[in-house]
């Protein structure tokens, strides 16, 4: 009985793995097809790089992602730390608030933005950053919240206070380093969401990488598939960074701390 069960489980796992891997392989093969579907080359990837408006789209995407991560670091991270210190009363309130961005369908949010934001904001693509932060907020909140719960925060803060650190020093040299991987994860998820966000960008008529990929699919479907593969590859690299970066950043942080602290 038991052996039969584990065989069944293994069978299901293999089928599922195939089901999920096959589109990736297909897309990779598809993106490497030559002109007119004959032979295999890297032509489609070069084709993307040759498009003039592609560089505009990718620079827009990157700028939006950078502003979003800065906002997360400046606004969201300190607030969540605060919720674990002086603002404990408001923890439940913000917890309730944090599900709202997941609940509002992004197309509804897009309509709302178009109806409400003033004209001077609608013309700048940096507008997207604010809403990306909003959409990423539930993920950022959950990962930082659980990380902060697992460290002896009040002890750390007291120690920093007795040693003469002000709140800036406490935040950036004591608290953030102790929840380093959650902070990095928050920034990475914000970047990933910003780079992949399509709904708001298309409704508000901004040309980012995903909207560019959809627009260009009429012209060259191979190119669109190639850019999709590229985007996924980028997310995987980000994911790998998430796993390996903490060790590297620890070393850099130590050096940095040695030079500037106190």
């Amino acid at each position: 009985m038991k052996r039969r069960v584990s065989k069944l489980a293994a069978g299901i796992n293999i089928i599922v793995a195939l089901f999920f891997i096959f589109p990736f392989i297909s897309a990779l093969e598809f993106s490497l097809r030559g002109y007119g579907g004959v032979g295999h080359t890297f032509e489609n990837y070069f084709w993307i790089l040759k498009q003039t408006n592609f560089s505009d789209a990718i620079s827009t995407s990157i700028k939006v992602a950078i502003l979003s991560s800065v906002l997360v670091l400046v606004l969201v991270v300190p607030t969540i730390v605060h919720l674990h210190l002086a603002g404990r009363k408001f923890h439940k309130f913000v917890d309730g608030l944090s599900v709202l961005p997941n609940l509002i369908p992004s197309i509804s949010l897009a309509v709302a933005v178009q109806f409400s934001m003033p004209g001077w904001m609608q013309v700048s693509y940096y507008e997207l950053s604010f809403f990306n932060v909003l959409i990423a907020f539930p993920f950022v909140f959950r990962s930082l919240d659980s990380a902060l719960k697992s460290i002896p925060l009040s002890t750390l803060v007291e120690a920093s206070d007795t040693l003469g650190g002000n709140w800036m020093k406490t935040l950036f040299f004591v608290i953030v380093p102790s929840v380093r991987s959650a902070t990095i994860a928050s920034v990475l998820i914000t970047v990933a969401l910003s780079l992949g966000e399509y709904t708001l960008a298309t409704v508000l008529h901004f040309q980012t990488v995903p909207t560019w990929a959809v627009n260009v699919s009429q012209e060259n479907l191979y190119g669109s598939v190639a850019i999709s593969i590229g985007a996924l590859f980028f997310s995987w690299v980000a994911l790998l960074l998430l796993v390996f970066f903490p060790k590297v950043s620890k070393r850099i942080y130590r050096k940095f701390q040695g030079r500037y602290a106190l």
Binding site: L8, A9, A10, I12, N13, F20, F22, P23, S26, A27, E29, F30, S31, G37, V76, T79, H82, L83, A86, G87, K89, F90, F93, V99, L100, L103, I104, P105, S106, I107, S108, L109, V111, Q114, F115, S116, M117, F131, V133, L134, F139, A192, L193, G196, Y198, T199, T202, V203, P210, A213, V214, S217, L221, S224, V225, S228, A231, L232, S235, L239
Partner: protein
Amino acid sequence: MPKLDRGFLGVIPLILFFSIFLFFPIASILNSSLHDNNDHFTLTLYGNLFHGEFAAAFLESIKLAGASMLISGFAGGIICWSLSKTTNNTRTLINTVSGLLANTGGVPLAFMFIAAFGQEGLVVKALMKIFHYDLYSGSFQLFNFWGLITVYCFFQIPLMLIVFMPTVEHIRTEWYEANVTLGGNGIRYLRHILVPIVGPAFLSSLFLLFGNAFSAFATAAAMTNGTIPLIPLLIGNLLNGEVISGQANQSAALAMGMIVISMFLFYLFPLITRKLVKT
């Protein structure tokens, strides 16, 4: 002047952020959806949601979300069970990959699917070469209802794995053994042990999947070019001015309709399950 609470001061920036970028926009579409083009108060925009093409689109969206919820939910449940038999490392890997797929689905997923199952796709070509079977000989189409459901599986099943896996990991073999020792059979185990414990979590996961499929826009927009009348696509078309102008406020009413349905699922559903569990 009364002394301001330090705890409150620290939350003000976040509250301001949410007010400006979430509450104010939603309030303004609520306001627009209650006024016609001449700024007179009216409920007709909401009345329109209940007949004609909008009602049909809502129905189609609900049908799609429901079918996707059932298929991905049950498939995901079974996969959770089979994954719970694997090692910890595999599960961590699956968790990471699921997180990636569930969150970054959207446009890349649509194109990957076209590459696999489209007319020129690898799967179609492979089936042709190996089994001499033409996938497109029947009624199969990538851009219709069932095609969309297949694509949705690729972010719905991972989401199911993320939300439901903790519950499945919680199930202990001792429970089954205890059941056998006390003279119970498989059916009794299901009815009296597994369903009461896992049921509520399963149901709420299903509703999460429903909401996710209901509000998905990017994949559908990239794949179908609006050939299936779904509510999110309809809103997108209204905003792009592909329909008569002067209907702008109608899109606000549609957006509010979607918000209401999502809120309803999220806040009312737990109440219902809690009641079900008690009885």
